[in-house]
Each structure stands twice: as structure tokens, then as C-alpha cells.
Symmetry: C2
Subunit: 317 residues, 2 copies
Amino acid sequence: MKALIYDGRLEYTSRYPAPEMGEGEALIKVRYAGICATDIEITRGYMGFKGVPGHEFSGVIEDASLKGLIGERVTGEINLSCGSCYYCDRGMRTHCANRSVLGIFKRDGAFAEYLTLPVENLHALPDSISDEEGVFVEPLAAAFEILDQIDIGRDKNVCVLGDGRLGILVAEVLSLTGCVLIAAGHSREKLSILEARGIKTAPGTEGLKKEYDIVVDCTGRGEGLREALKLVRPRGTIVLKTTVADRTGADLNAVVIDEITLIGSRCGPFKPAIRALAEKAVDVEPLVSRVFPVEEGVEAFEFAKRKGVIKVLLKVS
Amino acid sequence: MKALIYDGRLEYTSRYPAPEMGEGEALIKVRYAGICATDIEITRGYMGFKGVPGHEFSGVIEDASLKGLIGERVTGEINLSCGSCYYCDRGMRTHCANRSVLGIFKRDGAFAEYLTLPVENLHALPDSISDEEGVFVEPLAAAFEILDQIDIGRDKNVCVLGDGRLGILVAEVLSLTGCVLIAAGHSREKLSILEARGIKTAPGTEGLKKEYDIVVDCTGRGEGLREALKLVRPRGTIVLKTTVADRTGADLNAVVIDEITLIGSRCGPFKPAIRALAEKAVDVEPLVSRVFPVEEGVEAFEFAKRKGVIKVLLKVS
């Protein structure tokens, strides 16, 4: 099958073996897949991953033991859990001690014609969500994770740092809570997407005060935490939404003195993400910078790294 | 009056001017004061403080506008708040934007014959608490702060890192919750104090697993956070209880991937601390390594820095 593979070097092949469907799994023909910052990190050695990357996708079930599922348009949760460890027992399947992660850890991913996932990981895409939009369910779920972790409402003063893919999605999701929100970033163009949705923005953090109840760091840069510490009020909360190569230099003594809560946030719930997309409560269309055929995946990665680019999709089949 | 002063160098003088009692304040004759890690940091330049250090004390009210208070044996909360800023309005007086802090920031402290504090900062010491024990109310309150911040009960697996002054107090306070507790440190002698109170201990963290719901870092060292990250389970909580000079090197990406909550913890509530001491629920007597007269304060500081020493008290009057 067609696939983009990483083995110390990213390359396209038309002869990668199709995955075999395990018990309880479905075989999915991938339609679109999104290139995420994590994918780019993987091509720099992150997680030591080798194989087919890609974990944001939409596709159609081509085979499953439950034959009624065939033909269903789906996206899928990316953590494959054992179902029997301490974390699975407690409903924290994304933290399963024995997990593999689609396109990230021990499991081939979505930059290929076919992928397999346990049926329990799959979510049907309603007709009102296009194939292209379906790709955004996974990163949007990651944004919704914040709402599962902390209490955000109209009484909260919230600042989102970073106007990249994730920053924009996080700002859109947080705006649904009615909180007093500002999104800070450096790209006029990207911030204008949020402004079009009625979200207040700031060109960088220089003019902002140390007065935010909640600061969400989506910068993907080490400075993000340092800036967040300058903006969060005593007893406030900083949400760390991205892993970064180097986060030294942040003064964690401020965390102690101001009794800050710092909370890490990763994968999130698919259901509210699908609902938000279906109801057009969140608009992801302006985020698609360009669509490449999977055959041009290597070029697509290079394009995705360019300044100003938001989301790059691969059309797989 | 007698005082220990720091002005780039720590020295004792018998001729320091006695403080003047402001409106709403009381003049307190200090009996005992404790040397804390923060005091030692101050003599290394921390907070740029100059004047009389010391913030853990017991004493007797010698003057106050409410004459009925005179003669009362007290200790006091160390944050002097304005009563009208954003934080004071919301009951977070220890985070007052305009605060001074006894012996730490813009306010002379307890290593002197007299200190002044607003009457509202004072707490009477019941007869069952000795003058020496009264010194421990403030650090014990800091340990109780953790219970105000996070939910700890019998269902929680908790590890306290560090067997110094604060680590021991924190372990004693957390043990009152009935949680499954282990205290890890490197001093056999210090850990034996906790063992005598029925608290399980470990010589270092090497033998411990990544299974703790809550890890409290009281090490006062940069490695503390790194060790805590190795021990806390996914979605667990790390409490940072001490400021340290250098905390670089901790991999905060683990915070994101494992969705850890990291919470800073500083000053705490005096009432439960006084109650615990009064009821002998916490035993601080074994923590007193030595008592020096205030005249020998400089030597006392040197002694307090020695390995194996837990708490050094100054007898002031």
C-alpha cells in the first residue's frame, strides 16, 4: 500500500505491507490525515519511533468482525490500551501502562492507505463533518481535555499563549466556556482567524499584566512557561499543552512563592470535539493551509515546517 | 535592643533600635526564634533582604492598643497584608500584592528582643505549648497548607522527599490524614524520628516505584523535582514545598505526557498547626538540635548549616 514511512529518514513508498487486522479491530481506509507538531518531532527522533507516523485522520471502515460497521466513516482515539492495568481499571486508558500510540509509539499510523485500530477506539463522523474536518477531531479533543482538568467559566480570566495549530484550537474551545479570554501570538494572520471568531488577541505578551487566573501554554517553545509564569496571578493555574525540546530557564521558585498550579495536558475526549465540529461551534476550515497527496508527503512535511503555515493535510485515498 | 542583623554579613549587636509599634499593631518581646532554611538563604542574598531576619518565634505581648492583650503568649503569621488589594479581597492575604514579610521582605523579624506585628496576625499559644514548641507553629502551618490545597486521605499513596526540618514536619502532618505514607531521606538519624512516630521511611528513592498519587518535594534541592517526577504516577500530583537555587534539568515534558499536576505550596493556616501541637498530635521536641542564646546567633547559623542538624533555636529573652 501507499505509505509515508520514517526510519531515520522520512520517505514515501507505494509498497508498504498493509496492516493485519487483529482481534476486536477494524481495518480503516484512510481518507485524510493531518501533520501535527508531534509528527515533525518524530522526524527529528522523538520517541525513537520508526514506521508509519500520523495520528490525526478520517477514514472508512473497510473490514471488521462486526460486519455492520463496514462502510462507516470514522476517526479514532490514538491510545491503544491493555484494558487491565492500574490505569485502565480506573478509566485512565490514555495513561495505560502497556499502551501503544497510533503513529507515535509501537504502532503504525495514519500516513498510509490503511490502518487498524480496536473498534472501541473508533468514533463515527456525522454527515455534517467533512473528511477534511474529521482530521481535526483528535487535536480538538486534546483542547477539550483542558475542560476536563480544570474549572473554566465566565468568572475566569484566561490567556492562551501561542497561535499555532493547537493554540488556535485551544482558544476556540476555551471561548465556548464564556471565560474572559485573550490569545497571544506573533502572527497577525493567524490571530486574525481568532479575531474573526470574536476572540480577543494580543501581539505577544509584552502589554499583558500578571493577572490571569489561567494561562495555557501552547507555544511549543521553552519560553512559553517562562512567559506563563509572568502572566499568571498568585494561586493561578498554568496548563502545559505541548512538549518542548528545552524548558530550562523557567523559575519554578515562582511556582512555590505564588502557589501556582502547573498542570500537564495531553489527549482528550473525542465526544465533545465531534459535537463541537458537528455543530460548527468551532471552525477548523480556515486552519487548512494546504492539502498534499500522500505521494508528496515528504514535501508536505517540509511545507508544514514553514513559518505562517497552520495545518497541512495529506489526502491519502 | 539585642538583635542579629544581616547587611551583606550576619552580625550580632546589642544596640539595634527597638521597633516602633504602628497602628493596630502589638509590640512583642521575643522568647524563642527558629532558624529556617530561608534564613540561611537570606544570609546568601535571597530576597535582597537587609535587617533583622527571623520569622518563626514565640513571645509575649508587651504593648498593644488593646491593653487586654498585654501579657498574652503568642506566635504570629508572617505576611503583613494591605487588606484592600485583589488578593486580600479574596481572602488570599498571604499573597497580598503589597505585602511585607516578617524577617524576609521589607520588615524586621524575630532574631531580636522585640518585634511588632498587626494584632490580626497574632495567635495565642495555649499553656500546653511551650515557648520552644511555639516556634514550630509557623513551619508546621506551612506543612498544613498542603491539606488546604489537595485532597489527601486513606486512599492516597503519598511519598515525602527530604528528611530535613520541613520534610519531617510535612510527613508528620500528612500522617494525620491516614494516607499510605513513606518518607524518603538520606539520614538514618532523622528518619528514625519519623519511624518512632510510626511513619514508614526509605533510605533514598532508589527502591521506590513510580506509583505515588502524591509526592511532596521538601528536599530543598534541584534534584528533588527530578526524583519526584520518577515517583509520581500518571495524573498524580507533585507538591513543591521549597524554593531552591537551581531547578534546571527536570524534564517537564513528563508533566505533559503523564498529565501531572505540580503545585507550589508556601505559608499555611496557623489554627490547625496550633491545635496539632496543643494535642501533641505532632511531636517537635526531637527536632531541636540545639539552643543558642541570641548573642551567639552567628555561631548558631553556622551550626544550623551542618549536616545532620535539624532545628536550631535562638533563646532571645
